[in-house]
């Protein structure tokens, strides 16, 4: 949904503590933030939780925002950073799941999450799409982020470079390598083709 007021005005209102501006920001960007996080985390519950954290951080730090980057770039950057941190935490937790469930402070029991099917690829007969989504999920972090921003959010190379705080050639390289890797993953395995 497009933001009804220009970003610069929205930022000024947010910095003045306007509740209406914060609401407009959340409602204007929640879909984009949620989709980026979901693409990286592949769990709707975690994605929503992380998307909320992103907006909470925006609310708490908007006073320090100096407008050096576009508001959307800043939001994407926060979303990517929170999602990657969350994923790293989840991987560490999973690695020590047994120990943590035995020795955890809250005596919590950790379960392995079930295999997640991306909402975009849940329709029947879309195994190829599901394979693609799984292959994207196996890409290295930076490649995955660049690929997601390019192909799911349809950001330009320059916008992706701004989000990742890198250069356009670096983004091109990331995308090139990502596509090469995906091609390999999507090709039928030679041993299965008879």
């Amino acid at each position: 949904m497009p933001v009804p007021v220009p970003d610069t005005e929205l930022i000024i209102q947010l910095q003045q503590g306007s509740e209406a501006a914060f609401r407009a920001l959340v409602e204007g960007y929640q879909g984009r933030v949620y989709r980026v996080v979901l693409a990286l985390l592949r769990s709707p519950e975690e994605a929503e939780d992380v998307a909320q954290e992103v907006f909470i951080e925006v609310y708490q730090t908007i006073a320090r925002f100096r407008g050096e980057a576009a508001l959307s770039t800043w939001l994407y950057r926060l979303a990517v950073s929170h999602a990657l941190k969350n994923r790293q935490r989840a991987r560490t937790k999973k690695r020590f799941a047994l120990l943590t469930s035995l020795l955890g402070a809250r005596n919590e029991v950790l379960h392995h999450p079930p295999d997640f099917q991306h909402p975009l690829a849940q329709l029947e007969g879309q195994e190829e799409l599901q394979r693609l989504v799984e292959a994207i999920a196996r890409l290295p972090d930076q490649q995955q982020v660049a690929f997601t921003l390019r192909h799911e959010q349809e950001l330009s190379y320059q916008e992706i470079a701004d989000v990742l705080q890198t250069t356009v050639p670096a983004v091109e390289s990331l995308l090139f390598r990502a596509r090469q890797t995906l091609r390999k993953h999507l090709q039928p395995h030679p041993s299965y083709v008879r």
Binding site: R23, V26, E27, Q30, G31, Y34, R35, L38, P44, A47, E48, A51, Q52, F55, I56, Y59, L102, L103, P119, L120, A121, L123, Q126, E128, L129, L132, V133, R150, H151, E152, E154, E172, L175, F176, R179, Q180, L182, R183, L186, Q187
Partner: protein, 123 residues
Amino acid sequence: MSANAPDFGPDFGPDDELDALLRQLRAQPAPAPRPFFYARVRARLDALETPNAPQPAPAALPWLLRRPAYALMLGILVLGLNIGAAVRYGRPRPAASVVAAPRHDAFVTEYQLDPFTVPLPLE
């Protein structure tokens, strides 16, 4: 498309299976957060801003009893150390064997020399 064809990215490359799949993926309805997302963000912010968040009641049991896994591990560790010590020191020692005296001492004894005047062997 041939697998060996050069790939210059989605904006330059030929239309291949990957691009077709990506188009198919983009054509699906975009996922969205559940309704009332803003209300949930606001509620979390309010909870963060409330200074008197309810604290968990202090547990009456001693710390170790509230962590049975730690207590069990500590018990196993102490037991293991004790068993180790028992095996190590409880083994019957071999009778003190007559250890051959060093050659220097034997020489001093045999010739009844004053051990303080005989120089020590160089090592």
